[in-house]
């Protein structure tokens, strides 16, 4: 057994294509971009080496701090609302006997739409005056319950999060369903003989067995929400008055619009380190849980 799976030639051949592409198109640009972080540079004229000045400035930058908090808000919402919803819906779909195909396809539809389109679509839905959401609210509730969804700094972030959930939950459901439906029927049958009923089965069998996928979803959520860009950029572009600014939108604004590519790169480096730490923590937590289990 060990011999078949310890074949250095196959091993190298299987790994080289990935690593080669990765080194060329990924690692190299990352290094270059990190390198810019140590310069004062408008992107065109001579760079000026300024050591850690960009990072010192970042440390004191209130907008960056606000953006970081918004990223955490984004992450917390996705972890607390999206993930449980994903599990709930996946489990229910796995339990229904009829129309499973229909549900599986229907939940997936929003996923295939580009973020740009999703943002435009929700922009129309959220419109204060003519938006469907406010029209519905006015129909069933007092007029002043209608809200300025995208322009009230207290609600704008939440509105983006809802649009984001609408678009992204479908993929996670499909992923989660694939894992649930992949659980060998023998295990389920065996547990049934032990007198385990439907919801107990979910709790004691399904959830533990989809743990690897759970980890996948958690990690994708953490890294995805910390570097989120498109949907925020198109829906509010960080506004109103930077109340929905996230690190990526701020990075691009600083780097391209304000012509401070050096500082923009420094923000990129900071993001990298923050996400690295968070995913590291996540890996620790899941690992220690496995040991307990």
């Amino acid at each position: 057994m060990n011999r078949a799976l310890k074949n250095p030639i196959t091993y190298v051949a299987f790994i080289i294509p990935t690593l080669a592409l990765y080194a060329l198109f990924f690692v190299y640009p990352v290094i270059v971009s990190f390198f810019y972080g140590f310069f004062q540079w408008d992107g065109i004229t001579e760079k000026v080496f300024i050591g850690f000045d960009n990072f010192v400035r970042l440390w004191q930058d209130e907008v960056f701090r606000k953006a970081l908090l918004n990223n955490f808000y984004f992450m917390a919402f996705s972890l607390i609302v999206n993930i449980p919803l994903v599990f709930l819906i996946s489990i229910i779909i796995s339990k229904v006997r009829r129309m499973r195909d229909f549900y599986k396809s229907a939940v997936f539809v929003p996923v295939v739409i580009s973020t740009a389109t999703v943002a435009i679509l929700f922009g129309v839905l959220y419109n204060y005056d003519s938006g469907m959401i406010n029209q519905f609210i006015r129909l069933v509730a007092p007029e002043d319950w209608a809200r300025e969804w995208l322009s009230d700094p207290k609600l704008a972030m939440l509105s983006i999060l809802i649009a984001n959930a609408w678009q992204n939950i479908g993929f996670f459901i499909v992923l989660c369903l694939a894992a649930i439906l992949n659980i060998p029927k023998e295990i389920v049958e065996a547990s049934k003989l032990d007198g385990v009923n439907g919801w107990q089965e979910t709790w004691s069998i399904t959830l533990p067995l989809v743990r690897p996928i759970m980890f996948v979803m958690l990690l994708l959520t953490v890294s995805g929400t910390m570097k989120v860009l498109d949907i925020v950029q198109i829906m509010t572009n960080g506004g109103p008055f930077q109340s929905t600014e996230v690190m990526s939108t701020y990075m691009l604004k600083v780097g391209f619009r304000s012509l401070e590519l050096g500082y923009g790169s420094a923000i990129g480096v900071a993001m990298f380190i923050i996400i690295l730490v968070l995913t590291g923590i996540l890996q620790r937590i899941t690992k220690s849980e496995e040991v307990q289990y």
């Binding site: 390198f35 408008d42 992107g43 065109i44 004229t45 760079k47 080496f49 435009i120 922009g123 959220y126 419109n127 204060y128 005056d129 300025e148 969804w149 995208l150 322009s151 009230d152 700094p153 704008a156 509105s159 509010t236 572009n237 506004g239 109103p240 008055f241 930077q242 691009l252 604004k253 391209f256 619009r257 304000s258 012509l259 401070e260």
Partner: protein, 456 residues
Amino acid sequence: MKKRSTIIATLLVSIMMVASACGSNGNTEATNTPATDNSTNKPAEATDPPVEAKDVTLSLRHTQIKETSKTRLKILEDVVAKTQEENKGLTFKLEGIDEIVNRDQKLKAEMAAGNPPDIFEVFGGADLNLYVKANRMLDLTPIIDELGLKDKFASLDEFTVDGKVYGLPFGGYSEAIFYNKKIFSELGLEIPTTWAQLLDVSGKIKTAGYTPFGLAAKDGWVNGMLWNTVMERNVGIDAFSKVVSGEAKWTDENFVKGFASYAELVNKDYFTKGALGLAYADQGAQLLSGKAAMVFTGTWDANRFSGDEAGDLKGQIGYFAFPSIEGGAGDQTSINASYSNGFGFSANLNEDQVAAAKKFIANFYTEEVQKRTLVEDKLLPSMKLSDLSGVDPLTTEILTVMANASSSWKAYDAIVQPAVGADINVGIQELIGKVSKPEKVAEKVQASQDKANAAK
């Protein structure tokens, strides 16, 4: 460390140079290199005449890829075709790229590497200054002198650095108030000429159940337009340069007054509710759907306002100058007008290419092309036109407003540093969201100004 990056950069540049040299040598095979897996993609080159010593190729980057800019692209293509016909052996390679991707990433990266396209669309002002500083732009002063174009342009300000011209605008715009004539006549309103009248008119419009000013405030520059004119009326356009040089401060009395005038419109609820969440396109929709009576914006929207989307409001949209503000320090009948969309040319062009570029300029910057652009695309001409017949009523109103203006000036974001411009936009949004006071916003903008001035 610096040396090393210079070496890499030089290497990159020299690779590019070799590549572009191959391209301009005129060998048809060489110019066709990129399309390895699609050999039929450049029919124009396949029909090229046999290799001649004088074969010249020029790449031309434009951003007219949207449905709304089809007309403008057609006009450009016609000029290119004409120039190619007149000059055997001259080939233009047109490439259309998304405007934002080009401005933020593509052109910038190419400028840093020193290999921009031969001819490209460029914005006057901050972008151009940077490229000139890096010696990437061809000095066009001798060419326009030779062609006798120098005095034909409405303004070359935004493309002039230290007395030299580095780009030529192909169109311009002005910013003032578009209004719904139907609502105005229904409510018996006159076009306001003073601030007090404007407030009065807005009040009546609001009482009648319409939105006085349609606004979509998601993107800072949109709010910046009206704010800019209100501020100019209060302080005069020179004051904007003075804050950059440090002679004036945003917290000076007149500036604070300007912020306060703007805030007055906000506090009387004359803007669209929920404006901060709306994208720019929505602002025009508010006017065209008959919900908003006025919209302060640039003349680039004239095409839309006189098109099919206007429905029964077609022909009912007018344009008037922003009113004067009593006691303000600015030029009370001036207008924000700018000619910042233009073509620039690469400093890398060789002699033959410069000669070819000259022919393009001679064919593109003519009264005829400008007139055609005005009539078909409703883009304001960047050159002085002697014949204005055949333009539609809204364009006529726009041209009249501009002709009556006592002076014109360019927008604040072309004067102050980019970082300050960004903070001004945030400040205006704070006023619109009613979370800050004019004095507070002025202080914040000044703090940003101090920082930007110190960095220089």
